[in-house]
């Protein structure tokens, strides 16, 4: 059934406008570098806009493409070391922010470093990109149970390390 109004480009544009930040964060979780994350999203959408058929689960498909593009970025470039106080977080100075808050952010970044790549990526995708486990599982073409166990292990590690700060 042809739906004239619902073209794939329009759908992709709407989806991007809605989830631009989440897509960026997902890519950032893989690359660790904001510039490379932006490049990955841009590259993914270049390919997506030229698709002939609309995929069945568009959102999951787009996130998978972005992740693949981010992984390509990693392969093509040297890995970026995660800095102590930023990673995916905004460390620019704000007078209103307390030292305690800054310290907490640094603790979180440190704790994130102890996670495996998969654990870190799943935690970020779920907590910051608001992706459900089902969507993450579809995007990564893995079983929901695996995703869930990575998330759980990741959160457990974070909990242990941040216990005193909460």
């Amino acid at each position: 059934m042809v739906q004239a109004e619902d073209t794939i480009v329009t759908s992709l544009e709407n989806l991007f406008r809605k989830y631009s930040l989440e897509l960026f964060i997902s890519a950032l979780a893989v690359t660790g570098c904001p510039e490379r994350a932006e490049d990955a999203v841009q590259e993914a959408f270049y390919r997506l806009f030229r698709l002939e058929h609309k995929p069945q689960h568009l959102k999951a498909y787009v996130f998978r493409c972005v992740r693949n593009a981010a992984l390509d970025q990693l392969e093509r470039n040297r890995p970026v070391e995660i800095k102590d106080d930023e990673f995916i977080f905004d460390s620019s100075e704000r007078p209103a922010e307390t030292a305690e808050r800054n310290e907490f952010r640094q603790e979180v970044v440190q704790a994130m470093k102890t996670l495996s790549d998969d654990e870190r990526e799943i935690v970020i995708s779920h907590v910051y990109a608001d992706l459900s486990f089902r969507k993450i599982a579809k995007a990564r073409e893995m079983s929901i149970n695996t995703i869930w166990s990575w998330y759980r292990r990741g959160m457990e590690k974070l909990r242990r390390q941040l216990e005193t700060k909460l």
Binding site: V2, Q3, F16, S20, E38, Q42, F89, N145, L158
Partner: protein
Amino acid sequence: MKDKDLKSRLKSLRLRRPSSSYVDKVLAQKPETVEAVATRHWYGRRIWIYAPIAAAVLLFSVIGLMHWLPRGPEHMEVVQVPPELAELAQMPVEKLLEIHFGKIETSFDSSVVAATVKVALDKLSAREILDIGNKYSRQPRISARRAAYHPTAVSQVVEASEFVVRGRVEQVILDVSDIKAAILEKELDNHWFEHHGAMVKAEVQLEVFEAYPSLPALDSEKLRLWPVLHTRRLDVFENGKEYLIALQQDGDIIWMLPFIWGRYAEGVYPVDANTGMVSGLRNGTMPLDDAWLFIMDLYDAVHKGVEPAGEVLEYWLAKLQSEDLTDCWTAVEYFNTLQPPPVEPQLVIDAVVHYYDALDKNSRLMMAQAEGEIPLVEKNWKALQRDVWRQSTFFDEATDLLSRVTDELPAGQIQALFEEDLADSKGVLSEQAARELRSKVVRLLHKEHKEVHKPKAITKQEVMSRKEKIQSMIDRYRKGEKSIGAVISVMRKHLRAEDKEFVPFLLCEIVTARWDVPVLIAERIPDPCFVPVLRQALEKEVTGTLLAALFACGEEEEAIEMAVTELDKLLDEENGQMFGEHLYKLLPVIRFLGTTEDESVLPVIENFTREDVIDTLRETDARFGGQYAFIVNKLQQDAVLALARIGGESAIPRLKELYESDDIHIRILAALSLYYLGDDTGYELLSYFVNNTHRSVPEIEARWHVDLAGGYAFQAPIATYLRSPRTDALLLEKLRHGLDSGDTYAFGISSFVEDYKGQILAILVHQLSSRDRTTRKYANEILKRLTGQDFRFEPDRFVGQQDEVIEQWRSYVDNYLNEQ
């Protein structure tokens, strides 16, 4: 710290933002020309297939309309409907039904009314049809109202299920075709309710998002369930809503757990799409992530015996110490599935004490409200009642957990803990709950002296010989210490044909005084000396048991002739009571004829299997108010069984015809009869029972919800009337697959138990480890009944938690069988 706290703290951190040109850069890559692209919905193929058909239908509809549309005065005359029919067709459906059910007198022909009702029913929704069924039934048992109930423990639901899914309901179709037919046939008063109870078949289509442990292989992404819904739980599914659902699978059929009123919920938990909270669990709502994790961990513990370690254990210990009742309760429930629960007693004690205080506070509030001291609005009052129920239930389960972890706890400490609560001095608990608590505490206190239950010692009675047992019982009867019933019971168990010394006692004292003495004579001690006394009794009243005794004592032809004469007697069609009594007497006479092996009576028996004969009896019964409908049905059922016993292979063609009956009970009995005669035509139907899936098979479940559980349709005929090596094997196989209350019936039949005691006891011990709670319960009950022993097995404990008791049963049964 809970997951949701950690998550919200993490989310409070500000994220890095992409550069200001990020959005523009990405969107700048859009191609310049835009083409329409087909959307591939899952139903795409179906729509393409049906589109031409739909177009053709539309075309023909238009042509039809063109033909029938009024085109002038001449045409109006051609299509004019008779005025009385037009009047009927325009009547409101309520009035039409009043006419149909004879509440309003009318000159319309009943078949015309029925046809109009059919058209009207076709336009009504499933729920409206259910309401009509309810309105016109003599004993309303169905209702589309939503039922309030206390949710079953999630761990029990998980234990009963094979997998759990999260999915969105796309379609719910209630199948009320049976009810519609019953309304049209005006059979709501007897046949319909007897057969349909309060269950409705349905089809539910789900889009599955996730499943644990895994989804069975499906033809499409959509999951089709074939649930049988309780009519008071019709709203359990709503279109477009998301749910967590516990499911089972039988071949190609996936079904929900059955809803058993007052005992068991079906394991369907709605997920709120806006808040992500799951409701229907035991204490209010829960975040989806927590609920899913809870279910997965319960599944791992109950089905795979996974012991928590490291992070999982820490997670649940943290929940146990939570201030939140839901968290604490889920932890208690989780730990209760483990053996042994890896929890420090003090943690459980803290939880118990904490919530006992909360329960105390709420109970005082309830009492104050009841006495009018604090007026609460209805909504708050209900919320308070709900809270008290939840807290009491939690308290109950937490004390259970405590009793399982306090092996090392000194009695003094427990005594101190419950010093006040032993008497429930705060009056918090109901009388029953207080009693249960006291018994739990007593159990805790005595745990220190935990003793292994030993088999009962052998009594003096047990070492007596058969004859000594009977004589002893007669002596005690004569002294007034025992009833005559007790003597008969012992005789039915121990008397043998050669024990002639007891004949005078039977002749003098009781030969016709009780209904079971003729049975005793026929089964145990048939002797010609009883013939005069039996004839004397038969002159007063002809009964099936007296005829069987006369037959067994040697007067075969006389007994058969009397039986056939009795069946030929005309039924009294003027007096309802006489009609009913006569019908009732015919049942054992038919059963008796079935045992005679005299093929000449075959036509007499076959007559009672005929639909037209039974329908005539039903019509007569309907004139007396339909109160003997059950006996009329039973007459046909007994005739089917008698046909199999008497007819041998010559009965097979007629039994195959009966297997095609619309009546599911007749079909089951015909299938059993055929199997008894060596024909496997109905084996597919019987396999539902053998595999213990009858609770899940929609057709049988919908029609036989209650009766199946009683063993009336399956176990009883096999164990008593149609015994053969084939049917015995069928019954034993059924026990290997599971047990239910109906199996207790089979074990009341001593000959079956005697013949297979070794096998039966071994199966029962094995079934103590079944995953099915009902099977564990009846395996334990029947073991106790057959051996007279009780090793304090608790069927409500999860599998794997009572290995010690099961081992005791196993070794007892091994010894018992060796001695035998």
